[in-house]
């Protein structure tokens, strides 16, 4: 029952988060912006377009991307292994890149290469955060992690590291290199159209829920959990609206230079028993 609820509601929540993203983004640019249910309209429309198949493998990878993202999210919410979640997430992104490599389109290839760099930038901080969580709770199993209260108190620097890698995870400027609308027009997803683009569109929502859940771990048991998630998302949007896009090597460099030492410091302090 719980599984079913999660499977039904997480896309809905993801869609609403996506809609809110677009609305808040528009308000920050002094525009009115689309209605908050706009992503659902988009999805409905995508499903009604005429399917144009390029090759089977390409489409298979789109579904693999979606299924793995959904698996990662389900594993997370059902209390599975944290490492598994991170690996599923990374693999799902890798499938997107593989799908993009299966074509002869130049933008697709450039986008796929950038997507791989994107994985390289985002996954190591996540893994280290997972290690840090293991240090403090003694388990990678999320159902046990959920028991612990307010992790942020003992791992504040890890939380900051997560915030630092958020723009990368959500593909927001300055680290939206893999999409880079004005350079490679969407990158790996450029050749998907109509109903085959829908799983990728849906996976984006799920990724946002996953990210929200990740932030949520730090605030378990606190009434501030929703506020914390909303604040970090708005922070990301504010950053998005006050920076230009940087290049992919800058993304890897900055994420690593900022996030990894932060987590490292937290691990060190935890080991010393200071925090």
């Amino acid at each position: 029952m719980k599984t079913l609820l999660i499977l039904v509601f997480s896309p809905v929540i993801g869609g609403l988060i996506e809609g809110a993203f677009r609305k808040v983004n528009a308000r920050m640019q002094t525009r009115v912006g689309p209605p908050i249910v706009q992503p659902f309209y988009d999805l409905l429309k995508l499903l009604q377009k005429r399917p144009i198949l390029i090759n089977n493998y390409h489409v298979l990878m789109a579904y693999a991307h979606f299924v793995l993202m959904a698996t990662a999210l389900a594993t997370f919410l059902l209390g599975g292994d944290l490492l598994l979640v991170i690996f599923f997430h990374g693999m799902s992104l890798a499938f997107l890149a593989m799908g993009a490599y299966s074509l002869r389109s130049a933008y697709s290839h450039v986008g796929a290469t950038r997507e791989l760099f994107h994985i390289l930038a985002v996954e190591p901080p996540l893994l280290l955060i997972a290690v840090n969580i293991y240090m403090n709770t003694g388990t990678f199993l999320l159902s046990d992690v959920f028991e612990t209260q307010r992790l942020v108190k003992i791992m504040p620097f890890s939380f900051l590291a997560l915030i630092a890698s958020l723009p990368g995870m959500l593909r927001r400027s300055p680290f939206d290199v893999s999409e880079a609308h004005q350079e490679i027009i969407g990158g790996p997803e450029i050749e998907y159209s109509g109903p085959f683009y829908a799983p990728i569109y849906l996976a984006k929502w799920l990724e946002k829920v996953l990210v929200a859940a990740f932030i949520g771990i730090f605030f378990l048991g606190s009434p501030l959990i929703v506020v914390a998630i909303a604040t970090s998302f708005i922070l990301v949007l504010a950053l998005d609206n006050s920076t230009a896009r940087l290049s992919y090597w800058d993304m890897v460099k900055i994420t690593w230079v900022v996030a990894l030492p932060l987590v490292g410091a937290n691990i060190f302090l935890n080991a010393q028993g200071v925090l």
Partner: protein, 173 residues
């Protein structure tokens, strides 16, 4: 299902192509995206990618070199799709009519659904044109659409298009 129709009409992603216009309309098209006019209210996004677009906004009188590219773009947009000709010169040539390198309007190459006149078309007019296009989009189905004068080139029943002979035909016209 009404909700499905609503989905079609509420999320127009646009593709803009300049076929040799004077930039006036193109700039007004960009202005449509900016705070004062803000067409994202209608869910309109400038996708710049023909495969994910629904509405084709064409400016310019179609120069001879742009012609094939325009047709390619049209064929890459999956159905249902709507073509909007923005500006007097894309509606029928305008001042450029009968110049030697010009095709006299978009309708000579691909079928046009909505005409937006004006030199340069004002943002209000463009928004009006797009909203008109949305109504048309709502009625269209996902069947294959081929420009009428090119029907004979469509191969078979399921409608694979013989691209080579299609372009050949275009060159001859």
């Amino acid at each position: 299902m009404k909700i499905f129709e609503l989905g079609k009409a509420k999320s127009p992603w646009i593709l803009h192509y300049n076929t040799g216009s004077c930039n006036g309309c193109d700039i007004e098209l960009l202005a449509v995206l900016t705070p004062r006019y803000d067409v994202e209210r209608f869910g309109m996004l400038n996708k710049g990618n023909p495969k994910q677009a629904d509405i084709l906004l064409i400016t310019g009188p179609v120069t001879k070199r742009c012609r094939e590219r325009l047709l390619n773009l049209y064929l890459q947009v999956p159905e249902p799709k709507v073509v909007v000709a923005v500006g007097t010169c894309s509606c029928g040539g305008g001042v450029f009519r009968h110049m030697y390198n010009v095709e006299n309007g978009v309708e000579r190459v691909i079928p046009v659904d909505v005409y937006v006149p004006g030199c340069a078309a004002r943002p209000q007019q463009i928004i009006d044109g797009v909203v008109k296009a949305l109504q048309i989009l709502r009625e269209k189905g996902r069947a294959l659409e081929v420009p009428p004068h090119l029907k004979k080139i469509v191969r078979g029943r399921e409608g694979g298009i013989d691209r080579e002979s299609l372009l050949e035909d275009l060159r001859r016209r």
